[in-house]
Amino acid sequence: MDMALDALSWISIVAGLFFMLVGTLGVLRLPDIYTRLHAAGMTDTMGAGFLILGMVLQTVQGILHGESTWWFVLFRLVLIYVFLLFTSPIASHALARAGLAGGVAPWTAPGDGDE
C-alpha cells in the first residue's frame, strides 16, 4: 500500500514536471501571444494539477500513518487547486483580451488565411 501510494505520487509529480516543461517550451517557441497563452495555460492546469495530485497522495500516506494534523494540509492543497482552476483561465482570458485590445493580430501560418 505504502509503496503503491509512493509510486503513484512520484509518477504524478514527474508527469506534472513533464507538462511544466512542455508548457515552458511552448512559451519559448510559439510565435505570438495567443499561442503562447495556450501553452502557459496548460502549464497551470495540467502541470500544477499533477504536482498537487502528487502532494495529495503523499499527504494521504501521512494520514494513513496516523498524522491527524495532515488533514489540514490536504484541505489546503485541495483549496489551492480549486483556486488555480478559477484564476488560471481568468488570467489567460484577461491577457488575451488585453492583447486583442492592444491591437495584436493573431498569428497565422504564412500563406494561410490572409491573401
Binding site: D32, I33, R97, A98, G99, A101, G102, V104
Partner: protein, 228 residues
Amino acid sequence: MTETMVQLVDVVLLVLLAITGIAVIRTRNLFVAVMLAGIYSLLSAGLFVVMDAVDVAFTEAAVGAGISTVLMLGTLALVGYKESAPTHKPILPLFVVLVTGGILVYGTAEIPPFGGADNPAHKHVAAHYIHDSEEEIGHIPNVVTSVLGSYRGYDTMGETAVIFTAMVGVLLLLSRGPLPKRIFHAGQWHTVKAGTTREDMVAKFGGDAGPDETVKDGPARTEGGADG
C-alpha cells in the same frame, strides 16, 4: 542528501536571478523591464524560502512582485514605454561596478562560512529569542512575529510611520497637485498661467481621456510585450 539538494536549488535560483538581472539591463522596452523586475522579485522569494525565511518570502512575493509591479505599470501608463538608446560608453560604469564588486568579494574573505551554526551572528540575542520567547511572549510559535511585534516593537512602529509618510509624500506629489510652472511641448517651453487646471492643459496639448481609460487599458497598450 537533502542539504545537497537545497544547495542545488539555491544555485539554480541564483543563476536564474543573474540571468533575469542581465535581461533587465539589456532590454530597451520598459514594459519588459518591469515584468522582468516582477520575475526577479518572485525568484528571490523562492530563494528566501530555500533560506528558511518564509516570512520574508511571503512579503517579497506580495509586495515586490505584486504591488511594486502594479505601481510601475501605473507609472509606465503615464510616462510611456520606450527607453532611448544609450548615449554614453559603458566603460566608466563598468569600471566602477567591477571595482566595487571586487572590493566586496575581497571583503567576504573575512565572513564566516555560509550556514555555519557557530557564526557570530547567531550567538547574540537570536538564541535568546528562540529559546525564551515561548516563556516571555506566550504561545506564539512564529518567532518572527514575536520579535517583530514585541521585542522590536519600536522598529515596527517607526516603519509603519515611514510608509504613512511615504503615502503623504506621494499624495503631495501626485493627487491633483498644482501644475508645473513650465511645460515642454512641441519643441519649446510653455509658461503655465496661474489658475489653469489639468483639464485645460489636457484640452490644449492632448492627453488621456480620463482616469478610467488610464487604468482599464493602460498596461495593455504595448505591442503585446513581445520583443524576442
